[in-house]
């Protein structure tokens, strides 16, 4: 599969169809994968794809990266779930279909936490180790895009995986637990987690759907959200972010992975996704022509009549 990927990358660079390949490479110790930007055909050997390729590289397609944009025509190595984010970006006018060459890779799931992966003596990743449920991202247990849904090039063997009817895994178990709590316990649960927030904004920076150049949290005339990392400011920030992602979040899981305070952000975003599914029969990331419900004004299709 890697050979196929590297050959394709070479072909794209040599033919001028792409000036830069945004993909995955090894770190020095081969313990983690890390984003690479391949500009020269002779460097395509650096490209890898394996179960440690957890990053959602689509963030580099946003306007937060003018230097990546300036590199020329962009091609990106993307798993099905990463492509969901690209689709949302397209549906929101952030990216045109012909502005990026999508090298879709079929996928058997990735591990959520690269540090938790089995390590060999020298600290490198043990690629022979089995992908256990416990270290596999919840999204992968429920994945319906292991065969990527929007690509220019498809790499890898077809996956025969069928996702379960009802979502399974840690995130959904937690959602069920929280649903059973009364409002006081819910409040305490979230305040307990938000109290650890340090306002680093890693959750925002890693998310390709947080593409605003001026986030509301950075606006200080007037100031909308207190920048201080006290409980009031932390609650305001996390609620605003959850709202801004409602109906848009694709559950790529990057925000939670990046959060240095281990706040279960997936649980918030997935709960919101479930609500959007029930209310609007909508799931983000599948159709670039369909707009997320919260940015659509459409009184004709409103199933409630209170507003008419």
């Amino acid at each position: 599969m890697e050979k196929q990927l590297q050959d394709k990358a070479r072909e794209l660079l040599e033919s001028g169809k792409a000036d830069v390949i945004i993909g995955y490479g090894w770190n020095r110790d081969k313990s983690h994968t890390t984003p690479v930007f391949i500009k020269k055909a002779e460097d395509v050997g650096k490209l890898v794809f394996n179960k440690l390729c957890v990053n959602n590289l689509s963030v580099y397609l946003t306007r937060k990266y003018p230097d990546v944009y300036a590199m020329g025509k962009r091609a990106i190595v993307a798993k099905g779930c990463d492509i969901k984010n690209i689709v949302v970006m397209m549906s929101e006018g952030q990216l045109k279909r012909d502005e990026v060459h999508i090298i879709g890779v079929t996928c058997d799931g990735v591990i959520f936490d690269q540090d938790a992966w089995a390590k060999a003596e020298d600290g490198s990743a043990d690629m022979g180790a089995e992908l256990k449920d416990a270290v596999t991202a919840t999204k992968c247990h429920n994945c319906d895009v292991r065969n990527p849904h929007l690509t220019d090039t498809l790499i890898g063997d077809k996956s025969n995986f069928t996702p379960p009817d009802e979502p399974v895994g840690f995130v959904f178990d937690k959602i069920k637990d929280i649903e059973k709590m009364d409002s006081r316990d819910k409040w305490q649960f979230w305040m307990g987690h938000f109290s650890r927030c340090i306002k680093c904004y890693a959750c925002r920076q890693v998310c390709s759907l947080c593409y605003c150049e001026r986030c509301i949290s950075d606006k200080n005339m007037p100031q909308w959200i207190e920048t201080s990392a006290h409980l009031r400011g932390n609650l305001a920030w996390n609620l605003i972010r959850a709202q801004h992602l409602t109906g848009r979040c694709t559950f790529c899981g990057e925000c939670e992975r990046a959060c240095p305070a281990n706040i279960p952000l997936n649980v918030i975003n997935q709960k919101m996704s479930l609500v959007m599914g029930e209310a609007f029969d909508y799931k983000s990331g599948y159709d670039p022509k369909e707009h997320p419900p919260m940015i659509v004004f459409n009184p004709d299709e409103d199933k409630d009549d209170f507003i008419k």
Partner: protein, 339 residues
Amino acid sequence: MAKKILKRSDLTKLVASVGKAGGAFVAPKAVANGLVEYVFIKKADEIEFDYIVPGKSFKEANFPQTEVVARFKNDPEGVTVEGVELNPPRVVIFGARPCDAKSSESLNSVFTWDFIDEFYTKREDAMVTITVACTTGDNACFCTSVGIKPDDTDGSDLLLRETEGGDFTVEAVTDKGKAFIKEEKAVFTEGKATPKERTIFEPRKLDVDLEKIGEYLKDTDHYEGDLWADMARKCIGCGSCTYACPTCHCFDITDEGGFSETERRKNWDSCQFDFFTLHASGHNPRDRQYKRWRNRFMCKFNIYPGKFKTKGCVGCGRCVRVCPVRLDITEVMEEISGA
């Protein structure tokens, strides 16, 4: 003479005794799934012993994420400004690591440089640092490559070493440490012989040359070189590295509140944010993320060593572990050392 011993089972007494005297106790605690942090604890059974270094350093104890430094009141008579007089209690930091202990000196250089920041110094004066030498570590640890040892005493008031039996031998480093032992003599006991101590962890030695890195960074030709974009383009500017780092010290002053009452706060800030250097005109001298990352590297290995005698980086490896794109500072150090 046999070394003094602190029994693990006596920590309960120690925590209680420090609390009774009006002090606070900070120790590593498992606060969330897979995350250990230095936090204020009330009971010894909250202490976590199985950790390499906690997620963030204990700089929070002296340099909180957010704190009020002044208050304003606006009423018909006019505006009144009220300063905040700090009178911090004793804070005992238990379970510091030698790299973190060393970093206190680095923060101190900044906060006592051209202005004495009492919000920092008063807290530091009231702090007792009890370090536990490292018997475990990982591939991100690199203290020995920046001139620190995993059982260094610098910056600690007491250095503990774990014994095979799970207790600690005690080495008093400073007068403050000696005085602390005297005050808490009920828990610092003396046996006939020193029990066997656990083997100290040996971090891997990187192929780096700090002097060469310093020279490279001083050469302004390298400032606009390709290295920064090539190695740091992947940085997403999340700021986690700076918030986790024991020597990062940047803060922002912000006013918060309403019309009649306002607080002036001192909040952590990060050079990795695009807002950090954004001018009111709209111009941003560090207009790309890799330039912000270059600044962080410059700060650690050129600016800091140029201004102070203390270390810009203590090799704790936090920035490596926490980075969501695995931008590894040691890879850049090696690249420049080999250049």
